[in-house]
Structures are given as structure tokens and as C-alpha cells.
Amino acid sequence: MRFLMTTFMLMEVYAIVAMSLNLLLGVAGRFSAYEAALMGVGAYTAALLATKLGLSLFWGCVAGAAMGALIGTSFQIAARHMDFFTFNITSFAFQMALYETLLKWRGVTAGSFGIFNIPRPEIAGFSFTTLEAYLAFTTACAAVIMGLLLYIERSTFALALRGLRDGEKALQSLGKNTFALKLKVFAISGAATGFAGGLLAGLTRTIHPSMFFVYLSVILMVFVVAGGRGNLRGSVVAVFLLILLEQAITLIPGIPTSQIGALQRLFYGIVLVAVIMFRPNGLLPESPIFARARFPGIKPVEDGFAFLGRTRSRESTL
């Protein structure tokens, strides 16, 4: 029973992050590879506030959300003019840099020791220490955040974001401030991810930088892609389905335990490639009303090669 509850809570946490990544990637079309590190930042903020300052984990989560939003917006500000590929690689490098910071900034994060004995939250005297109580807490928070994200998905703000994805220049010509849009979406998704990181810290009660390595970012991308880019409900479905299947792999008789981790990652890789090749819209495709315009003239990804330099001669160096 406890194991089921723990898995369910893990699913909730990943669902929040997957939804916010979907908002970034699927709806707004901004690639993001540093979600895992952002979760780590949220988790560490919450954990440190809870263990060092005795703050209730709930406020720690909120602080984690604030940090997430801050980092997301600063990243976007720094990377505002980058074309697709440079943005892509910068987000990977950013993930690695954040991960290394978590690992090496020993004074603050206790580095490779990790943080232990993170206390579960207390609100108005009621302590959520037992697993059942924490399940209720997580579910309530997750419901609120997911509800918010779903609400945002249906709003005109999301419409503008889809415009960002499909044709940024066209959107600009309509008078929308695309930069402000990007800032807002990074802030929202960063906040949700940071909060989820804080919830994770309370769930496992111990955090270590290795929990937030780049592989997690890739797996989050699998959730988003498999569920359907642009459809937030799809991400939730994908998280639940894929995690169930992943756990089911451990139940297959006859597999040596040493191979289970590799099999699970293999499973995710196969899912990703299969979905991309055979059902690119994912499990729950985006509502057809948002389908891309058929006009081939709108090709946002050509910008992707702008990093090759304004002067295209082969003799240019550095």
C-alpha cells in the first residue's frame, strides 16, 4: 500500500513538471532541457529552508517556485535572441552547469552528501508527517497546480503562445510583445517545476544532486512527446501510463535485477522514437482547432541555423 502511495505521489510530481514542460515545449515551442536541474533547485530551496530555517515545507515549496521562476526568466532574458540550435545547446549546458553547482556548492547544498531528514510540512498546527497525510497534501497541491495549468491552457494567453510557436514574426506583426510572452511562460513553468521539486523533497525526505541529472530531463521530454505536445492532459496521461509500464517491467519474471534499470531506460527510448516516428502528435493530440497553418511559407525553424554566422564564408573563425 505504501509503495503504491509513494509511486502515486511520484507520478503527481512528474505530472506537474511534465505539464509545465509541455506548456513550454508543446504550446510555446521553446525547447527546454534543464527541467531536471530546475526541479533540483526547487527541491534544494525547499529542503534548505525547511532544515536550516525551520520553515514549513509548504513555504519552502513556494520559495522553490519563486526560485524556479527567477531562474527561468533569467535564462530567457539571457538567451532572448538565440536561434533554435544555440538555444537548445545553451539549455543543455545550463542544465549541466546547474547540476554541477548543486554538486559543488558544498557550503550551501552539502554537495554530494545530500540533505537528509527533510521534515514534512506543517500547516496551522496539523503536521503532514505520515505518508497518508502527505499523500493528501501532495494531491491537493497537485490538483491546484494542474488545475491552474489546465486553465491557462484554455486561455487566450495560451493562444498567443501557440502563435509564438507557429510563427513568431507573424505574431509580432500583430502587435504582441513576444518577449514578454516568453518571459511569462518561462516564469509560469519555472514556478510549477520548482514547486514540484519541493514536493519531491518532502516525499523522499532526502535529496542528492544525482536525482536531477540530465537523463531526467530527457525522460521528462519523453513524457511530453508521448502524451502529445500541446495537450496538457496528454502529459498527465502519459506520466501515469509510462510510469505504470516502467514499474511493470520490474515485475517481469526472469529478468536479472541488474538489468532492470537499463531495461526501463531502453523502454523510454523506444517509446520516444516510436511516438516520434509513427504518431508524432502523441497520445492525445492537440485539439485540431490549434493545428498549424497549412501555409508552407511559415517556417519558424529556419532561424535555427542563424548561429552559423552572418557571414557564411568558410574562412570565418571564432
Binding site: M1, R2, F3, L4, T6, T7, L10, L103, G111, S112, F113, G114, F116, N117, T204, R205, T206, I207, H208, S210, M211, P256, T257, S258, Q259, I260, G261, A262
Partner: protein
């Protein structure tokens, strides 16, 4: 080998079935044990070796009609949160009484949950001094490295007269705390630490750190690393021209480290638990069985896992499956015959084993008791 296992299991279950219908209890008792080690990822073969060792123990217990141990494995991949999930799974699904685990961060993470769920955690390989006396639900079946750190320091300064030393340690729970203990002991003994470098877990190119150490010109270099980084540290240290004497810890005994170090291993000294197959018939038998199963001689941690599993099995047979009773039984054993030697525990559940000094000569360690 497999067929024997099946036959034994069949016989035991058959006899249990028969005995169950009778009033008197004549079949084998059963006990459930969980094992959480890294079976994949970095140093996954370490966990596979432990698996072999535990299986050998389990079979011996069944053969000697002591107890039918049911063992369930979980892979923590050296991540504490996976260990936690594995622990919950083992307790919920399999209702294990004892969990055998390794890795200092894992044990630290499991300790509060063990207390919550009232199961015993037997640590057979984590050596961080932080594990000393965690709570009543953790037994340390591995000698923690605060003691041998200070013994090594004393030996280096007082006996060998090496006044300056540099330390290279792995940047994790184990490495950082052991390095700290060693440094304090070294300074207390009158020595001077000229440089301390650390490397990330799994780093195989340690030349940058070693170059800096070389520039500090110590008389001795102490390497506190993992498998197989220790071997590479030694090889690369000699390669870049460090002539200082090299000291290390128990992990240097591991065959992977010895292989990685190559010819540079000669002259490396340190303190370690000593596994001597010739010491006792138990040790010899285990070494033979393990070599046949795993294709390599057993490492110290394999021996400790084997001893731990047997000890737990015996405890369960004597006092039943209650984790508290098992813990009390284990802590109270006197001179229990393990393959590693005679095993005793202190009142808080930390194993008391003697360390020996070693020096590598011609690729093999030569032990001397201090």
C-alpha cells in the same frame, strides 16, 4: 549448481508441507531478507558480486538445515531515493524483516525509514564515520573508517616519519568524511597536510588533481577513492611522476583496482580488513565457491555480505522474524565465526573487526598485523 538449488528448495518446501500438517515443527523456518545494492550503473558489478555472495550464504543456510532464507533484490543505482523506493517495496510487497544494504548515503537515507517501519537495516559496506550509532535499527557490519583513518595517520607520522601528506578523495559521503577524519588525526599526530584534492564519483582522469598534488610536493599521498578510481589514481600518480609513498584504504584490495593500477600498485600501503582464504575452512570454502560463481576472487565487501547474510539467517532461526529480536541477537554475538574472521559488535551495533596493515609486493598484498 542451479539444479541443486531447485532440489533443495523443493525438498525444503515439501518437508515444510509435511511438517505443517503435523503438530510438531520439524521443517525449516523461513525468513525474508531484502538486499539493496547497486546492480547497474556505476560499479554495478560490485552489486552483482554481492548477489553471488548472498546466494552462496542462502544456499549454505538451506543445506545446513538452518533456515530457508528468501532473498529479494532491489537496485539502488547509488541513488538514495531509489533505495528508499526499493525499501518500501521490500517491506510492503515482500514483508522482509531485515534489509541488507550498502553505500553510506543510502544507509543514511534508510535509517529514519527503518525506524518508522521497524525493520532492521544491516549495513555491510558503507564506511562513512557518520554511520556510527545512527539508531537502534541500523547495524554496521563494516568497520567504519574513523578508526582506521586515525590508525593510519599515527602509523604514517610516528612509525614512518612522514611529516607532509596530500589527500585525494572522492567527492561523496564516504570520501569527504573519511578524508576529514584522516586530516584531523594526521594533524593531531603532528603531521602537515599540504594539499587536499577531490574528484567526482566515477571520474577516471585524475591527472589534473594529481598534477596539483605533485606541485605541492608531499612526502606521502593518501588516496581515498572508490572502485575503480583508486586503481587509476595510483597508475596516473606514478605516470605523471609523483614519487611520494602512496597509502590507501580497504578498497584498494578490490581486484578491479589492482588491475587498473597495473605495475604502479607495488609499494602501495595502507590499512584494510584482511580476507585470508587460508585462515579458516569457512573462508577457504567461501573463496572457492565464490570464484566458481563469479569468476573472480571475492572482494572484502563480498565476504562481509556473505557473513552478514549467514549471521542474519542464524539469528532468524534462533529468535524468529521479529527485527528487534534479530538485532539484539546479532549485537550480542561473541566471536562469531565469519569468513572475515571472528566477528563481534559493540553495544550500539557497530562491528568490531581488526584492521591489518598491507603493502603490495609483486602485485599482491602482504599483510602485517600492527
Amino acid at each position: 549448481m542451479n539444479r541443486r538449488l531447485w532440489m533443495t528448495a523443493l525438498l525444503t518446501s515439501f518437508s515444510m508441507l509435511v511438517a505443517g500438517t503435523a503438530v510438531g515443527q520439524q521443517g525449516l523456518k523461513t525468513g525474508k531478507v531484502g538486499v539493496i545494492v547497486q546492480l547497474s550503473g556505476v560499479s554495478g558489478d560490485f552489486g552483482v558480486g554481492v548477489q553471488h555472495a548472498v546466494e552462496i550464504a542462502k544456499q549454505e543456510l538451506a543445506d545446513n538445515k538452518i533456515i530457508d532464507l528468501q532473498v529479494f533484490y532491489e537496485d539502488h543505482q547509488q541513488q538514495a531515493q531509489l533505495a528508499l523506493v526499493g525499501f518500501e517495496k521490500l517491506v510492503d510487497r515482500n514483508d522482509v524483516s531485515v534489509v541488507i544494504a550498502n553505500a553510506s548515503p543510502v544507509i543514511l537515507a534508510l535509517a529514519p525509514v527503518a525506524e518508522e517501519r521497524k525493520r532492521l537495516v544491516y549495513n555491510f559496506a558503507g564506511v562513512s564515520p557518520k554511520l556510527r550509532s545512527l539508531n537502534r535499527w541500523v547495524i554496521n557490519g563494516a568497520a567504519l573508517s574513523d578508526r582506521d583513518g586515525s590508525e593510519l595517520a599515527q602509523y604514517m607520522v610516528k612509525k614512518l616519519g612522514l611529516k607532509t601528506a596530500a589527500v585525494l578523495h572522492v567527492d561523496d559521503q564516504f570520501g569527504t568524511s573519511v578524508a576529514e577524519y584522516f586530516q584531523n588525526a594526521y594533524k593531531a599526530a603532528g603531521g602537515k597536510i599540504v594539499d587536499v584534492e577531490s574528484n567526482p564519483v566515477g571520474a577516471l582522469d585524475l591527472r589534473t588533481q594529481l598534477l596539483k598534488i605533485k606541485a605541492a610536493n608531499p612526502e606521502a599521498l593518501v588516496i581515498l577513492n572508490n572502485i575503480p578510481e583508486e586503481g587509476y589514481s595510483v597508475a596516473q600518480a606514478r605516470e605523471i611522476g609523483i614519487t611520494a609513498k602512496i597509502f590507501s584504504n580497504t578498497f584498494m584490495m578490490d581486484p578491479q583496482n589492482v588491475k587498473a593500477a597495473g605495475a604502479a600498485i607495488n609499494g602501495v600501503r595502507g590499512m584494510s580488513l584482511q580476507f585470508d582464504p587460508e585462515r579458516s575452512p569457512i573462508a577457504k570454502e567461501f573463496a572457492t565457491k565464490f570464484a566458481k560463481k563469479a569468476g573472480r576472487p571475492p572482494a572484502i565487501t563480498d565476504v562481509l555480505a556473505y557473513d552478514g547474510a549467514r549471521l542474519i539467517g542464524e539469528a532468524m532461526q534462533k529468535v524468529g522474524n521479529d527485527p528487534r529480536a534479530v538485532r539484539d541477537y546479532i549485537v550480542k554475538v561473541k566471536d562469531w565465526p565469519g569468513a572475515i574472521g571472528k566477528i563481534n559488535f559493540d553495544a550500539e551495533g557497530n562491528i568490531l573487526l581488526d584492521m591489518s596493515q598491507y603493502e603490495f609486493v609483486n602485485g599482491k598484498p602482504v599483510f602485517t598485523n600492527p
